[in-house]
């Protein structure tokens, strides 16, 4: 029977399927971090259980860590406590930890791929909704809650209903200055922040195939922002080339065997998806969000929609959102001043993102009214940026290149946007207060963020390149 990619991987991991019960699904790799794991470790202790497969579990500290002076003890007491707790738990349960000071430390969804832990055909989970990022390699990867973290610790399995599948095709060629981030913001703006709920999304089409692994990760990363359980892309030579030679990638004979299997990982021609959507890459402009959920996005030179264009029932939320952002309906955001630019997060903090920004800002200076934080996704990205001289370019531009972590993506550490200030952010969520109480977040691509950094206002990047 013809199968979709999701079905192929799913079926290969079903331990037990029984009528009336959820499937027991085997999990190949479990990534953990300091915020959603302590209660799960605690649960294990209460039940007197070990971590069943510590060698399939990898930990890092990312959500809470400071992005300045990481060599010093963490100042904020609760953050330090949580990070210390992770260290203690990993030691007690025999889990490998890439903590602060380790050359592999970084945002969990950045380090998995760059270490070759993320591979096609795997099932991967983490107590973090952006685990969907790893789907870029043709893996079933998704976020779980802490009770499920405990489940995976104890059993290396999860109890799950098989998800519905959706295919999103993007065909055609992207315009100059338009990238992966714009594609995904565009899709979410079209189908809404709930448009993918209940589905596992497979991205396909020529515009997706053309993307680098980094671009594919950006797309899959934000699947959750349309409510989808996860997103994935069938692996191809771009994927295999990226994985090959990385620290934990299969080597020698194992590589050949894996590769042969990976090449079978695609949706069969006659496979049936529960939903199919198609978009034309030529319709996509540089995108920006104006509201407080990621579905509230527009092409940069379009107007914010008018209240009357919204369904009646959604108008109060729509108005509340614009009020929070300090924007008028039916108006343009172009030229609006910006106070902060944040280039980072698991959506856009990989070396390719930094290179793209650097090549645009080289020889330019930041505008006086903005503060610019560049937070690399991992120690390895940071080292690579330094090796390539990207740090110098940022320094001359007046940008701050910080140390790796989640940082202002969710403001759990000191990196918060002050109340009322506008931040163009390459992260994935513009919820009220996400970057700090009353902070105003506008999501955009690294290039659009860079344009704001040098001009101090919202600009169409296409006018600058």
């Amino acid at each position: 029977m013809a199968k979709t990619l999701v079905e192929k991987i799913w079926d290969a991991h079903v331990v037990q399927s029984k009528e009336g019960f959820p499937d027991i699904l085997y999990i190949d790799t479990h990534l953990i971090h300091e915020v959603t794991s302590p209660q799960a470790f605690d649960g294990l202790r209460k039940r007197g259980l070990p971590v069943l497969r510590p060698d399939q579990t990898v930990a890092t500290a990312d959500h809470n860590v400071p992005t300045l002076n990481q060599h010093l003890p963490i100042k904020e007491e609760l953050s330090r406590y949580q990070v210390d707790m992770l260290t203690k738990n990993c030691k007690e349960f025999g889990v490998e930890l890439y903590g602060l000071g380790h050359p592999y430390q970084g945002i969990v969804h950045v380090i998995g791929p760059e270490l070759g832990i993320t591979q096609p055909g795997k099932t991967m989970v983490c107590g973090d909704s952006h685990t969907s990022t790893h789907g870029a390699f043709g893996a079933i990867a998704f976020g779980i809650g802490t009770s499920q973290v405990e489940q995976v610790f104890a059993t290396q399995c999860l109890l799950l209903q098989k998800p519905k599948t959706m295919k999103i095709e993007v065909n055609g060629t992207l315009a100059k200055g338009v990238g992966a981030k714009d594609i995904i913001l565009y899709i979410i703006s079209k189908i809404s922040a709930a448009g993918g709920t209940g589905y596992f999304v497979e991205y396909a089409g020529s515009a997706i195939r053309e993307l680098s692994m980094e671009g594919r990760m950006t797309i899959c990363n934000m699947s959750i922002e349309m409510g989808a359980r996860g997103g994935l892309i069938a692996p191809d030579d771009t994927t295999f080339d990226y994985v090959k030679g990385r620290e934990f990638a299969p080597k020698g004979e194992d590589w050949d065997k894996s590769l042969a299997y990976w090449k079978t990982l695609y949706s069969d021609k006659d496979a049936i998806f529960d939903a199919v959507l198609e978009f034309d890459a030529a319709d996509i402009q540089p995108m920006i969000t104006y509201g407080t959920n990621p579905g509230m996005g527009i092409g940069i030179n379009e107007n914010i929609p008018s209240v009357s264009s919204q369904p009646e029932s959604e108008r109060p939320s729509f108005k509340k959102s614009l009020e929070y952002m300090g924007f008028e309906h039916d108006s343009s955001v172009l030229g609006h001043p910006v106070d902060y630019v944040f280039i980072g997060s698991c959506t856009n903090s990989r070396i390719e993102d930094l290179r793209e920004v650097a090549s645009f800002v080289e020889g330019k200076k930041k505008a006086e009214n903005v503060e610019v934080w560049i937070v690399p996704g991992s120690k390895q990205v940071e080292a690579q940026a330094k090796a390539e001289g990207i740090d110098k370019i940022f320094e001359e531009a007046g940008f701050q290149l910080r140390e790796p972590g989640c940082s202002a993506c969710l403001g759990m550490n000191e990196d918060k946007i002050p109340a009322g200030k506008y931040c163009i952010s390459t992260s994935n969520r513009n919820f009220e207060g996400r970057q700090g109480p009353n902070a105003r977040t506008m999501l955009a691509s690294p290039l659009t963020a860079a344009a704001a950094a040098v001009s101090g206002k919202i600009m169409d990047i296409r006018e600058l390149i």
Binding site: V35, Q39, G127, S129
Partner: protein, 194 residues
């Protein structure tokens, strides 16, 4: 987990759509390492101002409304996977959340913590809001066994759906780990056959 029993309760109305988990429990409160006490910070930034004073216009600060049932606008629980959102609701004292749509991860997290998410149609949701705004003492009956939600004021009943497995977990107060652990041998066999 405590057993879920038939419940008759007043309701707390929150007619806002797309309530995300950052609103339910802001990220800065995720630093605790136990599951307790999150109820104090449920809807923190809507409930309290910058000086930690209760905001009078927020429904949970209005003594007119109380109960174990939260009724919220469409797409409740979107955003991050933080289970803390479910813990906060449960710790505060909500056993049931009613909405016309729930985000996936939230729904799973809620069920895993004994909070029952009940999905109703937009019309039923409107009806409940209208009833409670007309009379804050209006009550609902949630009968999980029969999968029925009743508006006591009008006597109307609506069926809701829940996965049969999850239903038996809630009613019996057991969780997924207990279930999977009873399959340890099958798991080991699976690993050996790969």
């Amino acid at each position: 987990m405590k057993k879920f029993e038939k419940l008759v309760s007043k309701v707390v109305p929150l007619p806002i759509e797309n309530i995300d988990t950052d609103q339910i429990i802001p990220a800065r409160f995720l630093k605790a390492t136990t599951r307790d006490g999150f109820g104090d910070n449920l809807f923190r930034d809507w409930r309290f101002d910058a000086e930690n004073q209760p905001k009078a216009d927020f429904v949970m600060n209005n003594p007119t409304y109380s109960g174990k049932v939260l009724v919220a606008g469409k797409n409740f629980g979107c955003g991050s996977s933080r289970e803390h959102a479910a813990w906060a609701l449960q710790d505060y004292g909500f056993d049931v959340v009613i909405s016309s749509f729930f985000a996936d991860i939230f729904k799973g997290n809620a069920l895993n913590n004994g909070v029952l998410p009940i999905q109703v149609t937009d019309e039923v949701l409107e009806k409940i809001f209208a009833l409670v705004f007309a009379d804050p003492n209006t009550e609902l009956t949630v009968d999980l066994e029969a999968e029925k939600l009743t508006l006591n004021a009008t006597g109307e009943s609506f069926d809701f759906e829940i996965n049969p497995y999850k239903k038996s977990c809630l009613i019996n107060g057991y969780d997924d780990i207990d279930y999977i652990l009873s399959h340890k041998e099958v798991i080991e066999q699976f690993e050996q056959n790969r």
